[in-house]
Amino acid sequence: MSNTNSSIGLANVLYIDLTNETSKVVERQDLIDTYLGGTGVATMLMHEEFKEGTDALAPESPIVFSIGPLSGIFPCCTKVVAMFRSPLTGEFGESHAGGRLAMAMRFAGCSSVVITGRAKRPVYITIHNNEIAFKDASSIWGLSSTTDIGKILRNVEPNIGKRSIIRIGSAGENGVRYASVNVDTYRHFGRLGLGAVFGSKNLKAIEISGDGEIEVPDINVYSKIYKEIFTNIVETDLMEKYHNLGTTENILPLNELSGLPTRNLQQTFFEYAETISGENFADNYLVRKISCANCPIGCIHIAMLKTSFGHSHEYEVRHISYDYELVYALGTNLGVLTPEGVLELIDRCEQYGVDIISVGVVLGWATEMSMQKKFTNEETKGVSLKWGDVKNYLLAIDLIIESPNEFYSALAKGVVFASKKYGGEDFAIHAGGLEIPGYHTGVGNLIGLSVGVRHSHLDNGGYSIDQKAFKGDLSDEDIVDTLIFEDDIRGALTSITICLFARGIYTYGTIIEALAAVGIERSEEELVKLGKDIFMKKYELKRKFGFSLDDVTFPSRFFETASTNGMIDEARVQNMLSMYKKKRWGAGGE
C-alpha cells in the first residue's frame, strides 16, 4: 500500500521530545519496506536512537512503539511492540501489549512513536490524529489507582474516534524497576520495566485516538480475505483455548505434568491447583470476556471479586483480569490457596502498575529468605512472609512500591539485585536477569529463556517444546533447532504484530495473502529470512547493552527441582547452549 492510495500515513514515525515539548512526523517508508513494522521496525529505530552507554533511566534513553502493516486492518493484528533499555536488567527491553492501542495508532496515522527526553514536570501526551499536545499531569501524579487515571483522562479528553489510554501507576512514578505500563485497563506492557522508564521521563500517560481511513488496493480481495480469517477464528476450534478458559487452562495440565513452579520453585506441582484452576475461575468467578480492538476472540477474562465489609451485607465488587501467568506468580508460586487471595493480590499490583510475574518471583524469594530468618524486623518493617499469607503479601507489595527503606528499595530493583545484596542467589529464579514465567518444563524452557532476546517464554515457546519432548522423542539437537525456528518465525509474526495467540490462524499462506491485500509482496522464504535478520539485529542491540550469552548463569534451584522432563542436568544445559551458539553464529560464537 503505497502513499498514493492511502489516505493516512502508514509509514509515519512520530518523534516526541519531552524535554522541549516538541514533536515531528517523519515518513519512514524505507523501514517499512525492509522490516514491515512491529518488532523489526522498532529494533531499527532503537539502533538509530540509542546512544551506547545511555542509562535506562536517563532522559536520552528512547522509548519506541511500533505497530505492523496489518494493524487495524485484519483481525487479531492487535499488538504494539514497545522497545527500550530495561531498567530491570540494564539490557534489551521489549514488551508487547494489546488493547486498543494498535488500532488507535493506526487510525491516528502513526505506525511508530519514538519518545525521548524528560519533561520538566509530570505530563501526559495527547495524540489526536496529527495534533500532539503536552499537558500537565501534576494532579494525577501520585494517584494510587491506574484504573482511576483512565477514568479521569477519559472525562477530560474529547473523544475523537476510538481511543487508547496508556498510563503508569505509583510503581512507575517511584522507579520500581519492574513497573509496567497499563494499556486500556486490562492489558499491559508488563515485562522489563517500561513503567519506570515512563516515570523517569515524568510521563504519566499517553492518550491516542484518530479517525483515519485506509484505502486498500482492492476492497473485494481485502473483504474476502478478512472474511476467511474471521470465519477461521470464530467458526473453528483453533482459538477455543483462548476464548474458553483462556490461558489458565494450563494450570491443571502443567500441574499434572509437574511443570508448574510452586513456592518459589521448591516444587513443580501445587496440592491445591484444583481450587485456582482455570476451570474453577471460569465456573465461579468469571463474569465477562472482552477483546482487543479488531479481534473477535475475546480472550481477556474478567473475574468478579466480591468482598464484604461492615455488618449489614455491605459488599464491594471489583472486576479483575486474570490469566495463567498471574495465577502462577501470585498463586502457586506464593502458595496462595484461594481464587479470592489471588485476585486480591492481582488487583493490588494492577492498581500500582507493576509487573505481576516479577512481583511473584521477588516475593517468592523473599518468603524463603524470611522463613530462614535472613531479614531483620527493622528491614521488613515487621512484615514476615510465609506461604499463602495474602495479608502480609499485600503489605509487602505496598512497601515495595513505597520503598521506604533500603530493604524494600532493593526488592523494588528485582530478584537479582535483592539476592546479590541479601543472599539466596541459588533460589533467585531468573533467566537473563528477568524473573521467570510459570514453567519448569525442562531444558527447552531453560535454554529458551536464556537465549531469547527478551528472556521471555514468548520469545521461542521453550515450555511448549518441552511438552512435546515429554510426549515423544526429541533429541537435544531437535530442541535447539526448534528454539531457533521459533525465535525466527516469531520475529516475523511480531513484525506484523499478529497476536501470538492467533499464530494457528496466521499460517505463512494466510500471512502472505493478507500482506498482499495491503499491497505488500512477501514470500515464505523472505519472511523466514526477515525473522532471522531481526533476531540478529536484536542481538547486536543486546551487545550494545552489554549482554553476552557467555555470561549467562543459572540459579542452582533450576537443577534441584524436578521438571516435567525430570531433573535437569546442568552440564547438558551448557552443552545445548554451546550448540545453540554454534548454530546461530558459527564456531566463533556470538
Binding site: 477514568k151 479517525d211 484505502e215
Partner: protein
C-alpha cells in the same frame, strides 16, 4: 428486516461489526464510517453499548429532514438519499439514540438494516428481525456480497 440489539451484555468490544459496515459501504478500512457504533458507558471496565438505528415506525430524523434526504420507510426506519443530503445535521439532533453521524463529506451515515454487521458479530449481540410489511430496500447490498 431490521437489526435488533438483542443481547447487549454479550458484547466483547471487538468492533468487527463496525469494520464490516464501513468496509461494505465506504469501501475502506475505518471505524468512523460505520453506521453502528460500539461505545463504552464509562470506559472498558464498564458495559459496552451498541448504538444503532432503532428503525422507528415514525422516525423523527425523517420528519426534520428539510430536503427529504431521509424518507420514512414502510415498517420502520428510513431510506436515505445521499444526493439530497446537505449536511445540516438536524437529523442528528432529532435522533435520541444518537444513531446518526456525518461522514467526511458531510453526508449522514444512516443504518440501512442490511445486516452485514450481524454476520461479523462473534457473540450474537445483534439479530435480524423480520418485520411484516417492511420494505427491504437495501437487501440487494446484503451480506452475500462479501460472504
Amino acid at each position: 428486516m431490521r437489526i435488533k440489539v438483542a443481547n447487549q451484555a454479550r458484547c466483547i468490544g471487538c468492533f468487527s461489526c463496525m469494520m464490516a459496515c464501513a468496509r461494505t459501504y465506504y469501501k475502506t478500512v475505518s471505524l468512523k464510517n460505520s453506521a453502528i457504533d460500539i461505545q463504552t458507558s464509562g470506559g472498558i471496565e464498564s458495559a459496552y453499548v451498541a448504538v444503532v438505528c432503532h428503525a422507528c415506525i415514525e422516525p423523527p430524523c425523517a420528519r426534520v429532514c428539510p430536503t427529504d434526504a431521509l424518507i420514512k420507510r414502510k415498517g420502520g426506519g428510513v431510506v436515505f438519499h445521499e444526493d439530497l443530503c446537505t449536511g445540516c445535521e438536524q437529523c442528528i439532533d432529532a435522533c435520541l439514540v444518537g444513531a446518526i453521524h456525518m461522514d467526511v463529506d458531510r453526508k449522514a451515515i444512516v443504518c440501512k438494516h442490511c445486516g452485514i454487521c450481524i454476520s461479523f458479530c462473534p457473540h450474537d449481540v445483534l439479530e435480524m428481525r423480520k418485520i411484516d410489511g417492511m420494505d427491504d430496500v437495501n437487501a440487494k447490498i446484503s451480506c452475500d456480497e462479501v460472504k
